[in-house]
């Protein structure tokens, strides 16, 4: 100890890499604009279905994934990186580990975003929510993410301060966990450069996906932002965090509990009850640390209340925390089975995520940027009044959004399950429950527009600030701090020092090793279900009924995935009275056992399709997909004219079937070889049916034929 004390006398001068922070800050504004604009457009498509225009690239099913990916990974992602690169350097009193890695991280991430923006509208998707990007992009993400991790951990290793400030713990947890989640969830088998099938099927895929999906919210939209909160709130009010001890407790309890809560996305579904109960219990427990964090943050502002009136930064941060508190109260509430039964699949969930995304993530990012830009560009904010205007428009926008969506969600949830005196559904036609809430969709879009308006004001304000900033030659911030002597983990090991001291110096190293080990174990283990799909589900009924998809049905299913039908339709009939009355017998594990990827969905803008097969004849579907309103008045479903022109690539079916076979779907070798011929003859049979009903222009190759084949198969497996 005394040795390092003497060395601590020695002051060192160093510079922070501010350039990288500036870059991430500016792209946050750019991608935020894109994410909000696309969000507004899809909201308008809900209110005015005409806006789908029958153009494939801009239909709801394709744009909605673009919106969510842009909001999470482009807007929030870049904001996180800006904040991390700024604060990590300062609390660790060192420059980032490697400028090259910082640059690689920056450009790599932007390339990923551009790739996403190009591929999603083209319908290139894996069909798993928040993990839609196809496998080449998934690989890019893994590489860039690891670069970021090395950079972050390298910075921690070369720090000059012994104690690692709590914010950095949050950043490290973010890196490690997201890396593992991404790898495990993305395991898939490529069929071509832009098409792959998830390695998991049905219930397995659902569990992996929501293990990922839930923890993506936890470790991409929560932990990094909490780290930022613990840095920027104290900085903004110039007071230390109310209780540093509580912040440390907050961190550790959060990371222990979060990982277990995933199954709350699958309540009342075919997932075994015990898994649901575990998910529910941990979700409820999450409420405590979350509120601990919120209260800690708010109490930090205590004593600087005047700033809450005068300083826009503090306003944004304080409201962000309030929304964090709201969403983390609501989350556990929605994890209670009976509440979930009402709220799930409805707009209640949409309200919930947007109070989190617009309120917590959005406002925290805004507050942070209003803080950062004047500091980085050595100037004052151009206009406080405009920032205040942004604050109020943003708040009003969120309120319009969430209030309309709560109303829509609860209204629709009640209508779905309402039964009359005879015990029959009060609203048997699904579309009745849609028509009722369409006006609320318009109000939601208005809320989004107001929020976007506030954001545009912010962009103007920030650009003005930068434009008017003094043009300094060199803008890197210089700092001084004594070096705290670090030794490598291994040299420490060989020295006979106290265990604890050794551990400290080795921490970042160990962490890295741990992550690498975890990831490699992950890749190996996650191959196992691929081989063992057959053994996974034991269908105990009719093998003949339980046939996998025919080649034509599979082609139709690929179209279903491509068009993002799962953004509007679920395929999971829950074990609830309302569901069973409306859609038929509850879904079983066997129903989706060959589904790579699963398509259970998370929102019912349209009805559940799990037992859609044979409900209507071919002609009905043929007319419905062309123009839903021709068959169902008041529908908000888009039209799909291109399915009546574009052709199924029969030639590739053999490859697709064979990929499925590799994944364990029981196709015979014959079925693989004859995939194309079988598909053609099945299509001809459907075509004959349609012609008999008077359809004249259809062709065997048309995509609509394959889609019909798929829709007619749904729910035809076992069960009924």
């Amino acid at each position: 100890m005394s040795k390092s004390d003497s060395q601590m006398e020695h002051m060192e001068t160093f510079h922070y890499d501010d350039e990288i922070v500036k870059r991430f800050t500016l792209v946050t504004l750019l991608w935020g604009l894109v994410a909000f604009l696309v969000g507004l457009y899809v909201a308008l498509e809900m209110a005015f279905h005409q806006l789908n225009f029958g153009i494939s690239f801009i239909t709801f099913g394709r744009l909605r994934p673009l919106h969510t990916n842009a909001a999470i990974f482009a807007f929030a992602g870049n904001a996180i990186f800006a904040g991390i690169y700024y604060s990590a350097q300062r609390v660790l009193k060192t420059r980032m580990f490697s400028d090259k890695l910082s640059k690689f991280h920056f450009w790599g991430w932007q390339a990923i975003i551009v790739a996403a923006a190009l591929t999603l509208p083209l319908g290139l998707t894996q069909g798993k929510e928040y993990a839609e990007l196809e496998w080449p992009i998934d690989l890019m993400i893994a590489v860039v993410w690891v670069a970021f991790g090395i950079n972050l951990i390298g910075t921690v290793i070369q720090r000059r301060v012994k104690h690692i400030y709590v914010a950095v713990w949050f950043y490290i947890a973010t890196f490690v966990t997201v890396a593992i989640l991404h790898v495990v969830n993305s395991v898939s088998i490529p069929v071509s450069l832009f098409k792959s099938y998830s390695a998991y099927a049905g219930v397995s895929d659902a569990l992996v996906q929501w293990w990922y999906g839930h923890n993506a919210v936890a470790f991409f939209l929560t932990t990094p932002f909490l780290g930022l909160m613990y840095y920027f709130i104290p900085k903004a009010v110039n007071r230390p965090v109310y209780s540093y001890r509580l912040s440390v407790v907050h961190f550790w309890t959060l990371v222990f509990i979060y990982i277990w809560a995933g199954p709350h996305h699958l309540l009342n579904s075919a997932v075994p009850d015990w898994a649901q109960t575990v998910g529910m219990a941990f979700s409820v427990m999450l409420w405590i640390p979350s509120w601990g964090g919120m209260i800690n943050g708010l109490l930090t502002i205590r004593g600087a209340w005047d700033k809450l009136r005068t300083d826009p930064v503090v306003k944004f941060l304080a409201l962000a925390l309030t929304f964090y508190g709201m969403s983390t109260f609501e989350g556990p509430l929605l994890s209670i089975k009976s509440v979930n039964e009402l709220g799930h699949y409805t707009d209640w969930i949409i309200a919930h995520v947007h109070s989190g995304a617009l309120g917590w993530n959005g406002f925290l990012s805004f507050g942070m940027i209003y803080f950062l830009v004047p500091v980085l560009w050595r100037t004052e904010l151009y206009s406080k009044r405009l920032a205040n205007l942004h604050f109020w428009t943003g708040t009003i926008g969120i309120l319009l959004y969430v209030i309309s969506m709560y109303t829509a969600g609860i209204t629709q949830g009640m209508m779905w399950r309402e039964v009359n005196a005879e015990g029959a559904l009060a609203y048997p036609d699904f579309v009745q429950t849609v028509i009722r809430i369409v006006p609320l969709y318009a109000i939601r879009a208005l809320g989004g527009a107001v929020y976007l308006g506030g954001f545009v004001v912010m962009i103007y304000n920030i650009l003005k600030t930068i434009q008017l900033a003094p043009k300094a030659e060199k803008q890197e911030t210089r700092d001084e701090f004594p070096r705290f002597v670090q030794k490598s983990f291994f040299s420490e090991l060989s020295e006979a020092k106290s265990f604890s001291h050794r551990m400290l110096e080795g921490m970042p190293m160990i962490l890295t090793v741990l992550a690498v080990v975890a990831i490699s174990i992950g890749s190996v283990i996650s191959l196992a279900p691929m081989v063992a799909t057959n053994a996974m589900v034991q269908p105990n009924y009719d093998k003949e009924l339980n046939r996998p998809y025919t080649p034509l049905q599979l082609a139709g299913r690929d179209i279903y995935v491509r068009e993002g039908c799962y953004t509007c339709h679920s395929q999971m009939i829950r074990k609830t009275v309302g569901d069973v009355l409306r859609y038929g017998q509850e879904s079983r594990i066997e129903d989706s056992m060959y589904d790579h990827p699963f398509q259970w969905g998370s929102r019912r803008i349209g009805p559940d399709l799990a037992r859609e097969g044979k409900r209507y004849n071919h002609l009905w579907h043929y007319r419905h997909m062309k123009d839903p309103r021709e068959v169902v008045a008041g529908s908000v479903m888009p039209t799909y004219p291109w399915l009546y022109k574009d052709k199924v690539d029969f030639g590739s079916l053999q490859k697709r079937i064979s990929a499925m076979k590799t994944l364990g779907v029981p196709y015979s070798d014959e079925e693989v070889v004859n995939a194309e011929t079988n598909a053609r003859s099945e299509a001809e049979a459907i075509l004959k049916d349609l012609s008999a009903d008077g359809v004249t222009h259809a062709k065997v190759e048309h995509e609509i034929i394959a889609l019909i084949a798929y829709l007619q198969k749904l729910g035809q497996r076992g069960g009924q």
């Binding site: 301060v161 998991y200 104290p234 540093y244 990982i259 277990w260 265990f499």
Partner: protein, 57 residues
Amino acid sequence: MSIVYVLVPFALLMGFGFLWMFVASARSGQFEDLVTPAYRILMDETELKKEKKNEQV
């Protein structure tokens, strides 16, 4: 369903990984002083401080 044989070990691995990190960092004295770190981050960068001083002069 056997996917839980993958997920549960993973969740355990992460849970215990974090637990282990916690114990290790506690033993190394990361949490001995839970007061000054909160103040330290408020100390401004030297250059900014100097610039501010110059402005005041």
